[in-house]
Amino acid sequence: MLSALHIMWNLYLNELIKVFSKWRTYIGFGAIGVVVPLVMWGFSVGGSGIQREMLDRLGNEFITTGNLANGMWASHMLMNALFIHVPFLITLVAGDVVAGEGTAGTFRIYLTRPVSRNRVLSTKLLAAATYSTGLVAWLGILSLGLGNWWLGIGDVFLISEEGILILPWDIALPRFALAYLFAFYTMLSVTALTFLFSVMVTNAIGPIVGTMAVLIVSLVLTVINIDAFQWFQQHLFTTHFNLWTFAFEDPIPWDKVGGGALNLGIYSAVFIAAAYSLFRRKDVLT
């Protein structure tokens, strides 16, 4: 009998082969590969206008030298894609990982092998998480690399409700690493939700539509500033999609990071537990 670890590795390898043999897998990487250079080009030709607008907001209290709209700052701006755009790209693949096999009828050859459903599902989840993490990493590498090369490296100038924060570039770099770590974690909750939908249906469109519907409704509820909503807003998982922004505060509010991470972790655990429970009992009829 093959060892459990060997079986898991083989299953994981199989899932990666399946994922990366489909064109849809490259849509997300391609989209980011197009959007990031376009945005960087936009900043390169309109950067002075953005800088003027930022300084106007500050009045005449600051004297600046150099370029505020640098690569680091542009990369920070691009991380806002983590709220809607990256989740959508994640659903394209994570939604297909289980449901796609139902649509194709391939469970009939794959689940009739001497491996447990739990192991099959675990490696599918791992493959979906690998893809999601890879996509976020691609966004980070491309935006930071291309931004710093094209627009130049410099201090990050951030304006928030709390005030102004200027992070010197050598401090900002590890903060970016931390922010992307938080982003990976946040996107895992999106992956888990899509994965649950993927287990529930037998076509790959359902998980995409389902996840996006949940995200949009939840995000709308998150941002609407009505007293009646406030009591549950803090419990919505989309409220904590801004986890990465805490990496750019000084000092880093670890209590908020912990609270947000706990919320997202609980949601992810519930989504994954429900997916396992359903998949174990799922009748394969296609």
């Binding site: 199989n14 043999s21 689940l111 092998r113 491996v115």
Partner: protein, 306 residues
């Protein structure tokens, strides 16, 4: 139970209020080529899906080589190869890549074995082509290749010759015989093609509306003593009918367009041709209808010809 490849005990499956399989008790001895017959919707594919743990039983249990299908870790699936419904694959991958995926899940299946089974089903020269470029027949053959990849002791085949041309059907049937005779595999063959079951199987079971109607050795249903349904093409047909009806050993004479159908014992057929010729009837053909088909039709109530 040690002599049985498959045993089902009170096995049932309900989809909502509908019973797809109703308290099935079935035994398939090791080494048999077992035919599994029944009209569409009779529960054949449901049974196969239950045996392969693709669906869960509502009640009852099934045992493959003595191991319950309710086990958490389906080790018994390592002894089973299956082709359920149409053969579906990862279309973006080649035939060889598909087999490699499956080979990784089982012990003792290496690259050489993947190529060997492709050779057996005649697809080795297309091994590197994506499955999406394959015809239906080629996919069906690849389906058999994946089923025998790990040298199973039990092969479950659900309509394996569907969509194949006559040559392909012949090859698959030969392959089934070969696997049973040379490799000692037990074959569980679900088929609509009664002559296929008649040609290949040693035992059979008939299912209707989720219930087992009969089960036993095929010979039992093909007794030479019973009158065989026979089809005659002759002219003039009215005269032929009159002559046949006058013969005491011919029964159930019915006109079907330009043909006549009737029952007669095998050994009486020369008497019929002689008598018809003596009465000026020209005979174009006189053929027995498959005995199993005859039995199957009578079992489902439309053996009495329209």
């Amino acid at each position: 139970m040690s002599d049985l490849a498959i045993a089902t005990v009170d096995l049932s499956k309900r989809f909502g209020k509908r019973a797809a399989l109703d308290h099935l008790d079935l035994e398939v001895p090791k080494g048999e080529i077992f035919g599994f017959l029944g009209p569409n919707g009779s529960g054949k594919t449901t049974t196969i899906r239950l045996l392969l743990s693709l669906i869960r039983p509502s009640t009852g249990d099934a045992f493959l080589f003595g191991q319950s299908i309710k086990r958490k870790y389906p080790h018994y699936l390592g002894q089973i190869g299956a082709l359920v419904d149409e053969a579906d694959f990862y279309l973006n991958l080649s035939a060889l890549a598909n087999l490699r995926l499956l080979a990784r899940l089982q012990r003792g299946v290496d690259e050489a074995r993947c190529r060997e089974v492709l050779q057996i089903v005649g697809l080795l020269d297309r091994a590197h082509d994506r499955v999406k470029t394959y015809s239906h027949g080629m996919r069906q053959r690849l389906g058999i290749a994946q089923a025998i990849l790990h040298r199973p002791q039990l092969l479950i085949l659900d309509e394996p010759t569907t969509g194949l041309d006559p040559q392909g059907m012949h090859e698959v049937r030969q392959m089934i015989r070969q696997l049973a005779n040379e490799e000692g595999m037990t074959i569980f063959l679900s088929s609509h093609l009664l002559h296929e079951v008649e040609q290949l199987c040693t035992s059979m079971a008939v299912l209707s509306e989720g219930k087992l109607l009969v089960s036993g050795p095929v010979d039992q249903f093909l007794s030479a003593e019973t009158a065989t349904l026979t089809e005659l093409q002759a002219t003039p047909i009215d005269k032929a009918k009159d002559v046949l009806e006058s013969l005491p050993y011919v029964t159930e004479v019915v006109v079907l367009g330009q043909h006549l159908r009737f029952r007669v014992q095998h050994q009486r057929r020369p008497d019929i041709t002689r008598t018809l010729a003596e009465n000026g009837v020209e005979i174009y053909s006189l053929n027995p209808v498959s005995k199993l088909e005859d039995y199957f039709l009578s079992l489902f109530g439309f053996g009495e010809l329209p």
